[in-house]
Symmetry: C2
Subunit: 452 residues, 2 copies
């Protein structure tokens, strides 16, 4: 079948049960307003905090959430849905409210990242893709923030498109890591789509295609890249560094001075020290050393501690797949329906009921603790969730990517010192308010009564 379904834009990119449940809700007349919240149940042991990201893509998804005629024709052809449900799907628009943490905000377990308030069938239908969009960017921004903290003053670049999980992951990893403090990416569409600076050097295959490194370096310089970064590990790293010293005057004379060299294999620290010495002795103190290949935040921290002379890092797989922890234990749960709070009690998966707000307190510019309360409460501290959409429409322009990046930098600076380190730290305090505790109890009592 050649249905023109674009998974990245299609409302059909969902789990079958979302459609089945929507059908049942409609049949039962259950279209009262529901609130769902997306949160992470438990931080991984290797994450002391998480970073909100992906809100812009979520808003675009909700604004454009509709079925195409081809998709409706396919849904009809399956015989799974009544004519009335198909008509409902044809007219489907998201008309609800969205409250969310601004991108770049630091958050913790149990804290809502996003709240959808909409007629139950709507809030249900958008679940799978909503999680899919937000979870991934949170995952990557949170991983990237660890790298940013581990390598202050270093240029960090996303080189991870090739091993990211598909097209969208490749592109959105560039976006999420930029929010968390990366300087840019190698992924080209990040520049026209998001204004993210793009960087590139040269590949081993380029060097290999020429008779030798000398010819390859000279040819690459003739293509006049914005900054001439030469890859020096294809055959013998130190020999290539000496070749760079040898060629430097000629390249400078031609108007393409050597800006840097890149090392992509072997013991990066050891090679960097030897290459630095060769370059310095050759009068190339201003030439930077870039490293790539198998880099993660632990290595960055080790290099920093040892004073390894690497100026910038291209980071791929460990960033774009969040290798050490490639998925977060997140959930999008019903917290209220038709004005009544709801709560799931499954073992190890119980949730806080009601529409909630996070109140964050600071002392001397550092975060000291959050209160998790009800949305209508007022407490000391900054309320973190802000209105984003009302009645299916944005309440105003979203903060731009630069603003999200600045926010993240401020948030990382305000983290308690122990949470800024890579090692697992005592968790940040998030306390439920008395009103939230009371609501949870009421919820359990109601549930027990109704079960009878």
């Amino acid at each position: 079948m050649a249905t023109p379904i674009d998974p990245a834009r299609s409302l059909l990119l969902t789990d079958l049960y979302e459609l089945t449940m929507l059908d049942a809700y409609r049949r039962e007349g259950m279209e009262a307003v529901a609130s769902f919240e997306l949160f992470v149940r438990k931080l991984p042991p290797c994450r002391n905090f998480l970073v909100a990201a992906g809100l812009e893509q979520l808003v675009e998804f909700l604004e454009n959430a509709r079925f195409t005629e081809e998709e409706l024709a396919w849904l009809e052809s399956t015989g799974r849905f009544s004519r009335e449900t198909l008509e409902y799907l044809r007219a489907f628009r998201f008309t609800g409210d969205l409250d969310a943490l601004p991108e770049g905000t630091v958050f913790f377990a149990d804290e809502p990242v996003v709240r959808v308030t909409a007629p139950l069938p709507q809030a249900q239908l958008v679940e799978s893709r909503l999680i899919n969009i937000v979870h991934f960017q949170v995952l990557i921004a949170s991983k990237a923030a660890r790298m940013t903290l581990a390598a202050p003053g270093k240029l960090l670049l996303d080189f991870g498109l090739r091993r990211a999980h598909g097209a969208e992951a490749g592109l959105m990893a560039a976006r999420a890591s930029f929010i968390a403090g990366f300087a840019g990416t190698a992924t080209v569409p990040a520049e026209p789509l998001f204004g993210i600076p793009i960087y590139g050097t040269m590949a081993h295959s380029f060097i290999q295609a020429f008779a030798n490194e000398r010819e390859a370096f000279l040819a690459f310089a003739r293509s006049r890249p914005k900054a001439l970064i030469l890859l020096i590990d294809t055959y013998d790293t130190e020999a290539a560094a000496r070749l760079v010293v040898d060629l430097a005057p000629e390249l400078a004379a031609r108007g393409t001075p050597v800006a840097g060299v890149r090392i992509d294999s072997g013991d990066l620290a050891e090679h960097a020290r030897r290459v630095r010495a060769i370059l310095d002795e050759g009068g190339l103190r201003q030439v930077k050393i870039f490293a790539s290949g198998g880099i993660d935040e632990e290595l960055l921290a080790r290099h920093l501690a040892e004073g390894v002379p690497i100026d910038g890092y291209g980071i791929g797989t460990s960033l774009t797949t969040s290798t050490d922890w490639p998925a977060l234990d997140c959930a999008y749960k019903l917290v209220a329906y038709a004005g009544e709070p709801r709560r799931k009690r499954s073992e190890g998966k119980a949730t806080w009921p009601g529409a909630k707000q996070i109140f964050r307190r600071y002392e001397d510019g550092r975060m000291v603790g959050d209160r998790l309360g009800l949305a209508e409460e007022r407490h000391e501290g900054t309320p973190l969730l802000v209105p984003v959409m009302r009645g299916g429409v944005r309440v105003g322009p979203l903060p731009g990517l630069a603003e999200a990046r600045e926010r993240c930098a401020r948030e990382l600076a305000a983290l308690p010192e122990r949470l800024r380190r890579l090692a697992p730290a005592e968790p940040y305090p998030v306390e439920p308010t008395p009103a939230l505790l009371a609501l949870a109890e009421t919820c359990d009592r109601l549930q027990r009564e109704r079960a009878r």
Copy 2:
């Protein structure tokens, strides 16, 4: 900027250096034919074999590889490329050859999965997205195959869209796991796009939205799902199982007999045993038990060994993010240029030169060893790489998904017994042929001579 770039289809979804190098190749007149091969350098410790997948999407990418006018306008606006290079990009089509392992084929370290033979700038430009497409489906098919082997006779379903890394990953994980023996997925577009059976039950939020489980179960039955599977762990799993027994006659009388129950939390094995007992005592021996939540191949194997009465599994995160090993150490390397073999010598990353073929030998229907030789050699055993495209055009229709799935089942059955187990096993023997060894030596000698 509002450039309509669709990352999943755009040739711009690449690393900047691919464009920079293309520019340099063109400037240097280096447009002779190059061969690049994609292979995995080293299997992860937790993988005894890998499964080829993603070829159909790769062929579609190569067939449609071109720049849109908007993309060209943006490229021009950056000032990075000459008019001549922009004209080349405007006319860009992939006119090369593609040889590949058919989807579903088992392979090992150092064995080429895909070979591209094309003018150097073409073969280089497609690198990043080619790896991005093939790596992910290989990753997931290889993970899913472990699950298939660990749970013979069980119904395995992909439930992982929400935590997959983006839209494409969600959809392609459904495809790759189907090749490896999964029965289907919850991800809706997998049916219209690939003909993969889709499955769904109900969510906790559905139950929570009703006053109690009884009302929720009855309402869900009224929506007449193809098979009535009731979710029983929202509040108290065993109490809900008794409720199912209680409601069963009424539901059967209404024409929607209970087909199964689903458990999604707690100790799945323990709950399944108790629920099986409750159902059996209630006369519901035919009702199946499905489980989901935190399942991986180790748990499947444990359940099988213990005879846990679970009939089917919905597997999410561990499958679609390949949690234990979310990226493979793969590379797309130049192996020949202008008729001469090429080889990279970087530390720990040396590659085999020349266009290669894999010759697989069988004894009594089981694989006993592969020879890695040159494409033009003839050896005992089945040559695994087959022609897929010639001159940019398919040589014939690709095998369908059903055929790939059958091939994978045959391959898994033919694996040496030790490799079919989850535990790390002695590696499968892959021997370079004398001709390949000789070529590698020649290559090194040539390189040494040229470096002088």
